[in-house]
Structures are given as C-alpha cells and as structure tokens.
C-alpha cells in the first residue's frame, strides 16, 4: 500500500511540469519522471532502495477517456 508519506507528497506536489509523464514519488518527493511508465518506475526503484515508489500519470488534454 502507498505509504502516507508518498501519498501526502503526491497531494502537495506541483505537477505542472510533468503533463504527459509518469511521476514517481518516494519518501514524499518526486524522484523520477518520464513519459514511459517503465523508465520512471525503474529509476524510482533504483533511488528508493527497499521502499516502494508511488506512481501516477499526469494526463494530457487529449488523453483517451473510457
């Protein structure tokens, strides 16, 4: 389950610079971002060591909605 630190970090993060990207949060801070989930996730795992990062995607305007 996402740690409270990571969720609070997500809620307080200014995500304006990450539109269209996956953002990874660890210890409450953005540690990686990339349009590819896999790249953002792998970099976050490298930086987070034993902790699990929290990933979210900042959708673009034209993101497909189901």
């Amino acid at each position: 389950m996402p740690t409270n630190d990571n969720y609070l970090g997500y809620m307080s993060a200014d995500l304006r610079q990450y539109v269209g990207e996956w953002v990874a949060i660890c210890s409450g801070k953005v540690v990686s971002h990339d349009p590819s989930f896999k790249k953002a996730y792998e970099e976050a795992k490298r930086q987070c060591h034993s902790k699990r990062p929290l990933l979210t995607m900042v959708p673009e305007e034209d993101t497909m909605i189901f």
Partner: protein, 139 residues
Amino acid sequence: MNFKYKALPRKDGPPRKTPTIPLTFIGPGDAIDVVAILDSGADISVLPLEIGEQLGLSLTKGKGPCAGIGGDVETSEDHVRVKIVQGHENYSFEIPVKIVLDRKCNIPVLIGRAGFFEEFEITFDERRERISLKKVARE
C-alpha cells in the same frame, strides 16, 4: 475512507480537480503503488500496457476492441488484486481490468465500476472536493 480531489494541471487553462485514490495492484509479477483516477463513467478499470506487463497480467486473454470516448483501442482482459488502505481500514479484492495494448496510448490508471464500486458506497462530494468510500458487506 476519505480522499481529497487532486488539482491536475492542464496544458491550457486552470487545473482540473480530479477524484484520485492511492492503491496497490498486486499481480503475479510485481506489486505497484499507484494513484488512480476513480471513474464512475467507466464500466471497467483500464491499465496502460506497461503496467499490465510489469504486473505480469495476460496480454492475450479476452483480446478485442474496446470503445471509449477517444475511440476504439485493442485491449486484453484479466483480473488483478487491489489493496486499499487508510488508517485502520484495509481492504483487498480482485477486480477485472482491461489492458490497452497500444504502447503509444499513454493513459492514466482508471478505476471503473466493475468489481470496485460493488465493494463500497462511494460518494463524490464535488463541493467539498472529496471522495468517500464506505465498505459495504457483500451478500
């Protein structure tokens, strides 16, 4: 459980307040913590291809076109365990998901109704910008 809406930025215009929730997907290949958009208009939850791959979900089962507001995309269908925790509340159950097989389709994780909305009494409080999930007993 209560979660506040998150102001998600847009390229043009003011941020859009969006109902998002933190949860963990537990698949045969990995467990991933994500923040997902809670989408009451979606029949079923939708994952982008890279998350489906990382979780080790099937990319061949139930393959077919899936119609969305943005058009048709090829998807597969599988089930994945979700875990959602806040304070002393801790719930885990399986939901069906569609995995979008187009790698170029970079979508956020959407939690739709099937398998999820039956588990909770869900209130979208637009005025207070808050989502409330109240667990219901399954019959």
